[in-house]
């Protein structure tokens, strides 16, 4: 079996500020295979994560640079980004 590869996690805007980093590599526990499950696990990692994911403020996700819904599947090695609704233009 291949070596398990970590997720590449990216945070933008106020999620980056609350978590305290814009990028990290993490390997969540086995079975953490959806966006929703990943968020639930991240919230256990400390007050910064709780401040980022534990409020009513909407958070969007992209897997490998495509928008993804909470039920979307994540796989080892994926680039998973979290950010608020976009406000460019």
């Amino acid at each position: 079996m291949a070596e398990p590869r970590p997720l590449r996690l990216l945070y933008f805007s106020w999620l980056r500020e609350r978590i305290g980093t814009g990028e990290e590599e993490l390997t969540p526990p086995p079975g953490t295979d959806t966006v929703a499950a990943l968020v639930a696990w991240l919230r256990t990692r400390g007050p910064g994560y709780e401040a980022a994911f534990g409020t009513t403020a909407p958070v969007r996700c992209a897997i490998n640079q495509d928008f993804a819904q909470p039920e979307a599947t994540i796989a080892p090695g994926d680039e998973v980004a979290f950010f608020p609704p976009v406000t460019g233009g």
Partner: protein, 163 residues
């Protein structure tokens, strides 16, 4: 034929228009009949308070993918001969240009509709985030607006992509 760019430098509207009107040999194109355009600029106030700076953060890599996908959608829906999508990132002063959209077509209806589509989708589907700095030094991330979602929704969705 789409020009997609994310840049820190100021946007030169006249130069971008001239570039769109030029073919690969530097000659003026004669197949274009109309160019629609939208230019977004930094307003000097937010929620009634003066701002000193607007900073744009983005998601490098995904941004260019998203802008290309938006340009492709426009090209699939309208008769377009050239499209330009340029978005600035980093700090900007009030009055500066944040975004430039150009859509060229043989006919004006296509150019104008595509322009509205491009900026509506850019505002809701491209990963940029605005941060305003007020005169007292505090800053605030701009909230997404429901009116922008509604404006984007009137164009429908592309197959296989969430709205």
């Amino acid at each position: 034929m789409a020009t997609i760019r994310v840049q820190h430098d100021p946007i030169d509207v006249g130069a971008e228009f001239a570039a769109l009107m030029s073919d690969a040999h530097g000659n003026t194109r004669t197949d274009i009949g109309g160019i629609g355009s939208f230019i977004g600029t930094v307003r000097g106030t937010a929620k009634g308070r003066p701002i000193t700076e607007m900073a744009l953060e983005h998601y490098p890599g995904m941004t260019e993918r998203a802008l290309s996908a938006i340009a492709d959608q426009a090209a699939a829906r309208w008769n377009l001969l050239a499209t330009t999508l340029i978005h600035r990132v980093g700090p900007m002063a009030p009055g500066e240009t944040i975004v430039l959209v150009l859509a060229a077509s043989p006919h004006r209806a296509d150019a104008l509709e595509a322009t509205a589509f491009l900026i509506d989708w850019l505002k809701t589907k491209a990963p940029f985030w605005k941060k305003e700095t007020f005169t007292d030094g505090t800053h605030s991330w701009v909230d997404a607006r429901e009116t922008d979602e509604a404006a984007a929704a009137r164009w429908g969705t592309e197959p296989g992509h969430p709205a």
